[in-house]
Amino acid sequence: MSEEGPRPFTVQVSRGYRVGRWEVREPLATGAFGSVYEARRVGPPEPGDPDDLPERAALKFLPTGTRTPRQLRHLKDLAHRELTLHRKLSRPRLIRMYEAVTVDDPGNPALDGATVLVLERAEGSLDQLVERSAPGPVPGAPALLAQICEGLTQLHHAGWVHGDLKPANVLLMPDGGVRLGDFNLAAEMEGTHAYSPAFSTPDYTPPELLWSEVGERGQLIRPTADIWAFGTVAHLLLTGALPLPGASRAARRETLLRYARGDEELRLSPELPDAWREIIADCLSRTHEERAEHSGTALLRRVEAAAGTEPAPKLPRLRPRRKPGKILSTALAAVVVASIGYGVSTLTDTGSGDAGKGKRVDPASYGASELRTDKGIPVEYRKLIVDSAHDCSESAVTPALIAALLKVESNFDPNLSDPAKDEYGIARWTPRVLRYYLPDAQRPKTGNPRPPFPPDVSIPAVGRYLCAIAPQLWTTLPGDRRVLVAAAYLTSFAKVNNAGGVPPKQRPITDRLARYLKEYTPAASS
């Protein structure tokens, strides 16, 4: 294929151009949405500057001006996403932003109003490294992957999804380390998911996002999309080739669709070491649900083990540890309580197994060892509540927790209908959220499920939802794990993580919930 010269820069800025106290030097890189230039600081540090404001930085120009000849509205959204992430989040493996400047230059309509991010200057990006290396594995790939995974974990723990992880967005720093950059498509999670603009880089996109539905807020994206992209990057770095074969992007998309449908198995490169093969196969699991089991810290530990690197420092300190000993012991106590609860539920499982062999099941005492029978929990929902909790292996998800949630949400009213809030049924499900927690057979092919949502639909979905958010909560959070899960159910796990516990606004409702939780839990299992 013939080269037609370098890609034209999306935003053209001439050498010597001044933006605030920065003077533009060499062009560094360009993407579909903006361009990056090297810059030199020409003004002295000002009060309020970080101590380590560098002499050189990278300026990222996003053409968000109102007078650009072809005004691209979506760029504002993309610039806003990147700015918000930088303002809210600073983590060691994420590229750092020093300041943001808006270009004020009415004489230059192409640049006037552009958003300029002043970023840490990187040496280059991973795609350049891949391009310049000889065919086959990229030198130092395992250590690079451990750092990329660390960056992703930092991002996910803070409640964000990257949305566009690929080699071009992994930056190489002068110290040899990597940082994640380019957060134009990043999105802050609401509960277990986020909305991202419907852009994507096809070779790094998981099957469920390929032709996914798009709502007014964009497409729904979850951290497992980044996990898929990580598996793809890992395969590329370790073997020099993308995991799904095909000569063109369209051919690879066909392979992806056949794989997603189950018509084809994953055929990873035979040169992969076993440990990496398992990691990549897990990251490239067909569905979000399968991938969700491998997200988070556990994945990072496996990647570090495979790479032979030192474990990354524990993620992240929640807040100043005024009384470290006390917090630790509370957390430990929560773990002990939780494991006792788990033991009991295992016992009950055996009990219901016996019942299946022919003994009569009495609905009024179903699961009595975990859920009290004398506290007004309607008999007709006991089996649903107990079974839904048992379908989840998370120890914090107990029958009493589900019952307490239903009590505070609807007072067990199966006919609740609250169109103003768009919430329906015994668990106050919002149709657009419920959709993702229905089993495939119950989920409409297109669109959202429509109320009414009877208890036999609502309650198992509560169990699945709790089960999905429980592992996302940091294990170091103090307090009753079950109450934390409930708080995450009512807000989002990121909010609970960031608040270091139940957010103050949720206290009244979680206090009520905790009372019912205590009331519904039999003495023996609490």
Binding site: D164, R432, N448
Partner: protein
């Protein structure tokens, strides 16, 4: 993850359509299984449609009849598929498959809404981050979308959306045969093509078309699917 939609002749809504994922096939003929065309002049097993990537292929299983695939927006553009031909590729986004049966012509429609188009940003190599809504700017659906977006692109961001009648009046000079049905058809098709998720309030209340129009326009403006400098298409018509 369908890429092809087969619409039987008497079909009046999504319920009667067949949605095929790449690799899936649909047989058609006088009897089921598949798409039944109840006419004595049609072979028991007349043919098969297979979704392949973003296009579809047609197998003509009849012994003597040639099938014609027309492009309804293509000014007479068509291809002929001879008897016994296996997996002939069809390049049109919209197709009408015509089957001669006795002295009648029967048929049904096939849509391929997932065709790819080169994006502004995709002209060069590399691995660009691409907008995932490829639109064919020479199709009528693009005219309808442009007409719907026009008031908000030209002036007020909160201007009321044009009514279907206003869209008809606006487009009639370049599209004389335009009708209420064709505008509504194109709005419905755009919702499928842009993978529009039905907003919850639409599912509940009766204002189906209005909600869909509103969602389409806000999606189109949000992602610059129609830009102000493209609006002259409404006056000049699509450039060949």
């Amino acid at each position: 993850m369908f890429s092809v939609i087969v619409v039987p002749a008497d079909c009046r809504g999504p319920d009667g359509q067949f949605r095929l994922e790449p690799g899936q096939s649909l047989r058609f003929g006088r009897q089921g299984p598949g798409l039944a065309i109840a006419h004595p002049g049609v072979s028991r097993s007349a043919g098969q449609i297979t979704a392949t990537a973003t296009f579809w292929t047609l197998t003509n299983l009849s012994r003597h009849q040639t099938y014609v695939v027309e492009n309804p927006e293509g000014a007479g553009e068509h291809i002929k598929i001879a008897p016994g031909r296996v997996d002939a590729p069809v390049p049109f986004e919209f197709s009408r498959l015509v089957i001669p049966a006795g002295d009648e012509l029967l048929g049904f429609d096939v849509w391929a809404p997932r065709h790819d188009y080169l994006d502004d940003h995709e002209a060069d190599t590399g691995e660009p981050t691409a907008l995932s809504f490829p639109l064919d700017r020479s199709k009528r659906y693009f005219l309808v979308l442009a007409a719907l977006c026009e008031p908000r692109l030209r002036g007020e961001p909160h201007a009321p959306l044009p009514t279907v009648e206003q869209v008809i009046d606006r487009l009639r000079p370049i599209w004389p045969a335009i009708s209420r049905t064709s505008v509504q058809w194109n709005i419905d098709y755009l919702a499928v093509k842009l993978r529009l998720k039905p907003p919850p309030e639409v599912a509940l209340s009766g204002g189906r078309l209005n909600g869909k129009k509103e969602s389409l326009v806000s999606l189109a403006l949000r992602f610059d699917l129609v830009r102000e400098d493209e609006l002259d298409i409404i006056d000049k018509g699509p450039q060949p």
